[in-house]
């Protein structure tokens, strides 16, 4: 069963941009060194969701990109904001490989899924004659993610998109617990991937 959730998406375009069929984009999350906690499974979901939703441009999987450009886009070494970009792009080896692979945009992902509040009580017991649960528990989750689109040839940020999903999950239990979960993270993945695809389709 799926619980209720509310999704809010935003888009902001700073400068004009284009992308053609043989050009590529890469998604990269900000580092946990800076306190960012974007989940690996969220990045996997976003990569595969964008790849499925369009055929206008190529998307290079994050891990493949990091391996090809090792050690320059690792959590502790990747540019964390647009001001860090010129320094890394002054390395000719990196610049040439980006050019050869036609990687035009780098999308920096920040954000995470958090549980804001939880309440209720659920207890389970088992004995030789059987077992069961009784009670009611609920919690609120917020999945807030932001994607900042960087043009690697112009060394500028061309825009931002964001998705903010809130939802309440609950587990009522009378002998058998019935989880009713608000899938805020997967809804945020869907919302953000839709926004990124639409951003490049404009």
């Amino acid at each position: 069963m799926i619980g209720c959730s509310t999704t809010r998406v935003d888009e902001e375009v700073n400068t004009a941009f284009t992308i053609s069929g043989d050009e590529s984009i890469v998604l990269l999350s900000n580092s946990y060194h800076t306190g960012n906690q974007t989940e690996l499974d969220f990045m996997d979901c976003l990569n595969s969701s964008i790849s499925k939703k369009q055929n206008t441009f190529e998307i290079i999987p994050t891990r493949q990109f990091q391996n090809l450009f090792y050690p320059w886009f690792e959590p502790s070494t990747a540019p964390q904001n647009i001001e860090d970009l010129p320094k890394i792009l002054s390395n000719e080896l990196i610049k040439n490989q980006l050019f050869e692979m036609k990687i035009k945009y780098l999308i920096k992902i920040t954000g995470e899924t958090k549980t804001n509040a939880s309440s209720g009580a659920l207890s389970c017991a088992a004995g030789p004659g059987g077992g069961g649960c009784f009670g009611f528990a609920w919690w609120d989750d917020t999945s807030a993610y932001n994607a900042s689109v960087w043009d690697l040839s112009q060394e500028t940020s061309v825009g931002n998109v964001s998705a903010n999903v809130t939802g309440t999950s609950m587990i009522p239990a009378i002998i058998i617990p019935i989880p009713i979960l608000a899938r805020t993270q997967s809804n945020a993945c869907e919302g953000l991937s839709d926004q990124i695809v639409s951003f490049f389709s404009n």
Binding site: Y32, H33, Q37, E39, D41, Q66, N67, L68, F69, Y70, P71, W72, E74, P75, S76, T77, L93, I94, Q97, P128
Partner: protein, 197 residues
């Protein structure tokens, strides 16, 4: 078997599972770094014993929190060979280098390996640190440079089992060590090439 005996056996089993030690075997993949080549240098690498075949066993204080044995095998040596061989040819100690290239000696020691488990830190993640000391000398064993290289990795337990999350945190920290070493070497090798003439 009566119920009391059954309960005792179940309780003992649970206690044994709870106190059982973990045995981790570490293997990791570190990509070839995208760095400048220095064809005029050849290097001899030497490692201390804790890098060649390191089996970590916790000290008494740590044992109370998490009893774990970590077998690194030659993963660390492979990491350093992989990174340094991307910059210049690595020379086996018994061979004389080509006369056209200049020899440098690189001695690598593991200074510190530290970790925090979710039980120790009261959170939901494993955190791992490595600290290495690297001494660089010319062919006459005169000191050229000393580097301190660190690596840090963390992994939320999340969908992983305890062992798997710990292993991933170690692998991330080793990969971070390789990244920091590559960048340090890229920054310093021009200067070292000039120094050895």
């Amino acid at each position: 078997m009566n119920n009391a005996v059954k309960k005792i056996i179940i309780l003992q089993s649970l206690l044994l599972i709870g106190c059982g030690s973990q045995n981790l075997v570490i293997e990791t993949y570190i990509p070839k770094p995208l760095v400048k080549k220095y064809e005029s240098i050849t290097a001899n690498l030497t490692f201390d014993e804790e890098i060649k075949n390191f089996i970590f066993t916790p000290e008494q204080l740590q044992k109370r929190e998490a009893s774990v044995e970590i077998n690194f095998g030659n993963t660390q040596a492979k990491l350093f060979e992989n990174i340094f061989s991307s910059f210049f040819p690595i020379n086996a100690l018994e061979k004389n280098p080509d006369e056209s290239s200049k020899l440098i000696l690189i001695d690598i020691k593991l200074d510190k390996f530290e970790y925090l488990t979710p039980q120790m830190a009261a959170n939901q993640k494993y955190s791992v640190w490595f600290k290495y000391s690297i001494q660089i000398q010319d062919k006459d064993k005169r000191a050229i440079d000393d580097w301190i290289i660190t690596g840090y990795g963390e992994q939320e337990t999340g969908v992983f089992s305890g062992d798997e999350a710990f292993k991933r945190a170690i692998q991330i920290a080793l990969r971070d060590t390789g990244a920091n070493l590559s960048i340090k070497a890229q920054d310093e090798l021009d200067k070292i090439t000039d120094m050895i003439g």
